[in-house]
């Protein structure tokens, strides 16, 4: 009987400890989000800075399913049965996001901002005006040589006839 009572008290203290720890985690998370230490500015943004509809849809749907799941758990204190319809909805949402991502990454220019591309274009034009060969990709400007005025002429090559014996 004493062991039973001791075990119950221990269980109670463990329960309070878990509550304290989880509560502390939640508060820390909210404080960090509030202070911008966890930056959510680009939560639904694509690589070029614009907001992504597929990301927004995935965010909304994930939050809704999470809240619904939590409501069920709090009501019945057991993990609820997840219906096939909810799984299908989540699958459609995630698939739409994946397909959208794939389409976007198939066009490299959609990964950069228009002003960045314009700046790269201007830089390439300036470098090209000096005579240096320039290679421009959606991500960078690469110069592959020296300007025309700095180039030294190549030394004349002499051919060696290997067919004559020494």
């Amino acid at each position: 009987m004493t062991y039973q009572r001791g075990f119950e008290v221990l269980l109670l203290f463990c329960g309070y400890g878990v509550c304290l720890f989880l509560g502390w985690l939640c508060v820390i998370l909210l404080i960090k989000i509030g202070r911008d230490e966890i930056d959510l500015n680009k939560l639904v943004s694509e690589a070029n800075g614009d907001a992504s509809m597929s990301r927004f849809q995935l965010l909304i749907f994930t939050m809704i399913v999470t809240v619904s799941l939590f409501i069920m758990v709090v009501k019945n204190w057991s993990f609820p049965y997840v219906s096939d319809g909810i799984l299908t909805l989540l699958g459609i949402s995630a698939s739409t996001y994946a397909v959208s991502k794939g389409i976007q990454f198939s066009r490299p220019e959609t990964l950069t901002k228009p002003e960045d591309r314009q700046q790269a274009l201007d830089t390439a034009q300036k470098m090209s005006d000096t005579g240096a060969p320039v290679i421009m990709t959606p991500g960078a400007v690469i110069s592959g040589g020296t300007p025309a005025g700095d180039r030294t002429p190549a030394a004349p090559q002499t051919s060696v006839d290997d067919s004559q014996g020494s």
Binding site: C26, I60, S68, Y81, L89, S100, R107, T110
Partner: protein, 114 residues
């Protein structure tokens, strides 16, 4: 107080606070939503496929949340085949139009002034 009740209030409080924080950040533009309904071109025209996807997502989400709040069984709400069909068609239309705009002939996405 029972630890289970404390956990319940903690969870509810955290979810509510997080949702409120996200909503506030979106309304005050601290979470970037620029171009959410645009088609990615320079003029930033509104895309109908994005609007219909947003409307469908909100409608289905509200339906699921309402069913979860008023449900009596220990199960997440069932989704009717019609709802699944509508959601799938909406997502399919969005993906198809996006693919056509980005990969199709005469694509205007990403054009800059030269």
């Amino acid at each position: 107080m029972d630890p289970i009740r404390i956990l319940r209030w903690e969870g509810l409080g955290f979810l509510l606070a997080l949702s409120a924080l996200l909503a506030y950040r979106m309304l005050t533009r601290q979470i970037n939503l620029r171009g959410l309904l645009g088609d990615g071109t320079e003029d930033g025209a509104v895309s109908p496929e994005r609007v219909q996807l947003l409307v469908t997502t909100i409608a289905v989400s509200c339906n699921v949340l309402r069913a979860a709040l008023h449900g009596t069984t220990n199960a997440l709400p069932e989704v009717s085949p019609a709802t699944l069909g509508i959601f799938g068609a909406s997502s399919g239309v969005y993906a198809a139009v996006k693919a056509f705009k980005m990969l199709g002939p005469g694509s205007r996405v990403g054009k800059t002034s030269s």
